[in-house]
C-alpha cells in the first residue's frame, strides 16, 4: 500500500552509486496531529541530492514541499508536527539520529536555508552585519572582527552595493530584493554543502526575481553548493533546476531530469499543471488568436487529513479508473531516470516499454 512497500522491488537508480549522494532522504514521513486528525504533510518521500546539483521540488500549496524542507533541518514545530519515520543522511550520517546539539552544528553550517519572506525572516532589531557574523561565530570559530570582515565580504559576493555601509544597517532599511540577497549571504556564509531555498522569489517582483535567481545560479556554480529549490513556479524550475520532484498531497508523484520532465511528463497531475498555466513563450512562436481556454484541473486539492483511499489525485484525474480510486499506485521508474506514481501512465503516456 505505502510507497515504501511499492518501492522495495524497484532498485535505487543505478546511475549514481549511493555513496556519491550528498544528501539522501528515505521514506520521510512528517505528520501533524490536529483536531482534524492526522495531517500527513510528508508521507514517505525519498530523494537524493548529488553535490553541486539543483533539485527542485514543485507542487501546489499544501503538497508538503515546505514541510519537507523544514524536516530536513528538523525545524518542524513540535507539537503538532512530528517526524514519524525515515532517514535523512548527509554524507552518510542520519540527521534524524543526531542529538539536538549535533543537529544545531549542522544547521547553517552544512545545510542552510533561505525563506520566502525576506522581510519577516530577518531579525528586525539586529544589523545585517551581525546576522551574517552570527553564523560565522557559531560555526567557524571566527573572532568577532573576522566575522564582521567576512560579513562585508559576503555582502559583496551577493552584490549588495556599498557593503561596508550596509553591514551596519537594519533589515527594514533595505529593499525587498536586497533583503533576499542578505538572506542568501547569511545562508552561504559558512559555505554549506546544501542550500535549501524555500520559494526564494515568490514574494518578489518579476524583475527582482530574475536578479535573485541569477544570483543563486551564479553562486551555486561559484561555490559548488547543492541546492534544493522549493517552488510552485514551473518557469523557475525550468530555468534553474537540473532535477525535479513533483509532489502532490504529501507524496512524490513524479521525478525526472528537468528536460525529460518537461518534455514527457508521465503523471496526469504534472501534465495538468503544465497545461493549466498560461504560457508567455508560446505567444512568440506561433500566432494565437481569440480566446483559448486553459486546461483546468477540476476540483480542489484534498485535505491532507482526509485523503482518498487510492491515488490522491484520482478524484481530479481525467484518466482515473477504479483501480486508481481503490489503490495507491506504486512509485516506479517509467523511463530511464524518470519515476512516477501512476497506474495508467504507461498506457496513456508511454512508459519504459513505450
Amino acid at each position: 500500500m505505502t510507497t515504501t512497500s511499492a518501492m522495495t522491488p524497484q532498485p535505487v537508480p543505478p546511475k549514481v552509486p549511493a555513496t556519491e549522494n550528498l544528501l539522501e532522504v528515505t521514506d520521510l514521513r512528517t505528520y501533524f496531529f490536529t483536531r482534524q486528525g492526522v495531517v500527513k504533510a510528508v508521507d514517505g518521500v525519498d530523494f537524493a541530492l548529488k553535490p553541486k546539483e539543483t533539485l527542485a521540488i514543485v507542487g501546489e500549496s499544501g503538497c508538503g514541499k515546505s514541510i519537507t524542507a523544514l524536516s530536513l533541518l528538523r525545524l518542524i514545530p513540535v507539537p503538532p508536527g512530528r517526524i514519524i519515520s525515515g532517514s535523512i543522511k548527509l554524507d552518510g550520517v542520519d540527521l534524524l539520529g543526531l542529538g539536538e546539539e549535533e543537529m544545531r552544528r549542522i544547521r547553517g553550517n552544512d545545510i542552510s536555508m533561505i525563506f520566502q519572506e525576506p522581510m519577516t525572516s530577518l531579525n528586525p532589531v539586529m544589523t545585517i552585519g551581525r546576522q551574517i557574523a552570527e553564523v560565522l561565530l557559531l560555526h567557524q570559530g571566527m573572532s568577532t572582527k573576522e566575522a564582521y570582515a567576512r560579513a562585508v565580504e559576503m555582502l559583496r559576493i551577493v552584490k549588495i552595493p556599498e557593503p561596508e555601509q550596509r553591514v551596519k544597517e537594519y533589515p527594514h532599511q533595505l529593499s525587498g530584493g536586497m533583503r533576499q540577497r542578505a538572506m542568501i549571504a547569511i545562508a552561504l556564509a559558512c559555505n554549506p554543502k546544501v542550500l535549501i531555498a524555500d520559494e526564494p522569489t515568490t514574494a518578489l517582483d518579476v524583475t527582482i526575481q530574475a536578479q535573485i535567481l541569477n544570483l543563486i545560479v551564479e553562486l551555486q556554480e561559484r561555490l559548488g553548493t547543492a541546492v534544493v529549490l522549493i517552488t510552485h513556479d514551473l518557469g523557475v524550475v525550468a530555468e534553474t533546476a537540473q532535477r525535479v520532484i513533483v509532489m502532490y498531497a504529501g507524496r512524490k508523484v513524479e521525478e525526472a531530469d528537468v528536460g525529460e520532465l518537461f518534455a514527457r511528463p508521465m503523471h496526469p497531475y504534472t501534465r495538468g499543471l503544465m497545461a493549466s498555466i498560461p504560457r508567455l513563450d508560446l505567444m512568440r512562436g506561433e500566432e494565437k488568436e481569440g480566446v483559448e481556454r486553459l486546461q483546468e484541473i477540476p476540483g480542489i486539492v484534498p485535505a491532507l487529513s482526509a485523503l482518498p483511499p487510492g491515488c490522491a489525485f484520482a478524484p481530479r484525474c481525467p484518466h482515473a479508473d477504479d483501480r486508481c480510486h481503490a489503490e495507491y499506485p506504486p512509485y516506479e521508474q517509467k523511463r530511464s531516470g524518470h519515476w512516477a506514481a501512476c497506474w495508467r501512465s504507461d498506457e496513456l503516456f508511454g512508459g519504459v516499454n513505450a
Binding site: L73, R104, R107, M113, F115, T120, L122, N123, P124, E134
Partner: protein, 315 residues
C-alpha cells in the same frame, strides 16, 4: 524625529490641560465641600460662619473664575494653600513624593527583577508544568487584592516575629529603611511583576512564532541564543512600554498599600485629600500624577525610538 518629539510633547501638554479641566469640574461636582467638612470636625454648622469661610476660600466665586485663578497661579508656580493645613500645597506634597517614589522604584525594581526572567522562562517552557505553575502564580498576583495581601503580611509579621513592618520616618540607617520599604514594595510589586511576567511571556511567545526565529534556528543558533539574543531583544519592546505604564500606574496600587502599611506617601495623601475635599491638594496631586503618567509615557515612546531601529530610521 525632532518634529515627532515636539508633536508628542504638544499632545502631552494638551492632555494635561484637558486633565486640569476634567479634575476641576469633577471636584466641583463632588457633593459637599471643604467647608462642610471643616465644620464637621467641630460637630456644627453655622450658616453665617459657613458663608464667611466659603468667601475666605474663594469658593463663592463662579466656577470659571475659580478655574482661571487656579490655572494661572499654577502656571506661575503657585499651587495654592491646603484648605486643611493652611500650608502651601507644595509644602504638603513635596515631602511626600520621595516616600512614594522610593516605594514605587523598589516595587518596580522587584517587578522587573522577577517579572521579566520568569516571563521568559514561562514562554520558553510553554505548556510544561513549570509554565503552568508560573502562570498560576502570576495570575494570583493579579487576583489578590493588594490591601488584603498587605494585611496578611502584617498579621504574619506580628504573629511570628512580634515586629511590625510599618513605615517610620526615623529609620535606623539605610538598610533598615530599605527593609521597611521592601515589604510593602513586595506586596504592591507582586501585582506589577505578575503583569510584567505575563506580558513578557505573551510577547516572547509572539516573537517565537516569527519567521526570523525560524531563520535563527536554521542558522544553527543555540537555544539560548535563539531565546535570549533573537527573541528577547524583540520581545522586550512591548515590555518596556508596560514597565513605563506600570511605573506610573503603581500609584493606583500604592493607594491601598500605603493605607495598610501606614506610609505617608502621596498616594494615600490623595485619598485623604479627596475625603477632605481639599481641592488645592487634590488638584495639585492629580495633576502631579497625570504629569508623571504622561511624562513616563512620553519617555517610553522616546525609549522605543532608541530601542527599535525600525522607528529610528523611519522618515
Amino acid at each position: 524625529m525632532g518634529a515627532y518629539m515636539i508633536r508628542r510633547f504638544l499632545l502631552m501638554i494638551l492632555t494635561l490641560f484637558g486633565m486640569s479641566v476634567l479634575i476641576f469640574v469633577m471636584l466641583r461636582i463632588v457633593p459637599g465641600n471643604i467647608v462642610d467638612i471643616l465644620f464637621d470636625s467641630a460637630g456644627m454648622v453655622n450658616p453665617d460662619d459657613k458663608k464667611r469661610l466659603e468667601e475666605e476660600l474663594g469658593l463663592d466665586k463662579p466656577i470659571v473664575q475659580q478655574y482661571v485663578t487656579w490655572i494661572t497661579s499654577m502656571m506661575k508656580g503657585d499651587f495654592g494653600y491646603s484648605y486643611v493645613s493652611e500650608k502651601p500645597a507644595l509644602d504638603e506634597i513635596l515631602p511626600r513624593i520621595p516616600v512614594t517614589a522610593k516605594l514605587a522604584a523598589l516595587a518596580l525594581f522587584f517587578s522587573v527583577l522577577f517579572g521579566v526572567p520568569l516571563g521568559v522562562i514561562s514562554a520558553v517552557r510553554q505548556n510544561t508544568s513549570l509554565d503552568y505553575f508560573l502562570r498560576v502564580v502570576s495570575l494570583s498576583g493579579l487576583s489578590l487584592p493588594s490591601f488584603w495581601l498587605g494585611l496578611l503580611i502584617l498579621m504574619a509579621f506580628v504573629q511570628y516575629t512580634g515586629w511590625i513592618p510599618i513605615y517610620s520616618d526615623q529609620p535606623r540607617g539605610f538598610w533598615h529603611e530599605l527593609w521597611l520599604l521592601s515589604i510593602p514594595a513586595a506586596a504592591v510589586g507582586f501585582r506589577a511583576s505578575a503583569l510584567i511576567m505575563r506580558l513578557t511571556r505573551s510577547s516572547m511567545l509572539e516573537v517565537l512564532r516569527q519567521d526570523y526565529i525560524r531563520t535563527a534556528r536554521a542558522k544553527g543558533a543555540t537555544k539560548q541564543s535563539v531565546n535570549y539574543d533573537h527573541a528577547l531583544r524583540n520581545a522586550v519592546l512591548p515590555v518596556v512600554t508596560i514597565i513605563g505604564i506600570e511605573a506610573a500606574f503603581l500609584i493606583g496600587g500604592l493607594i491601598v498599600t500605603e493605607t495598610v502599611f501606614n506610609i505617608p506617601g502621596v498616594a494615600r495623601f490623595l485619598v485623604e485629600a479627596i475625603r477632605w475635599r481639599d481641592y488645592p491638594i487634590v488638584q495639585s496631586l492629580v495633576m502631579l500624577i497625570a504629569v508623571v503618567t504622561v511624562v513616563v509615557n512620553f519617555l517610553v515612546d522616546m525609549a522605543y525610538v532608541v530601542l527599535d531601529p525600525r522607528i529610528k530610521y523611519e522618515s
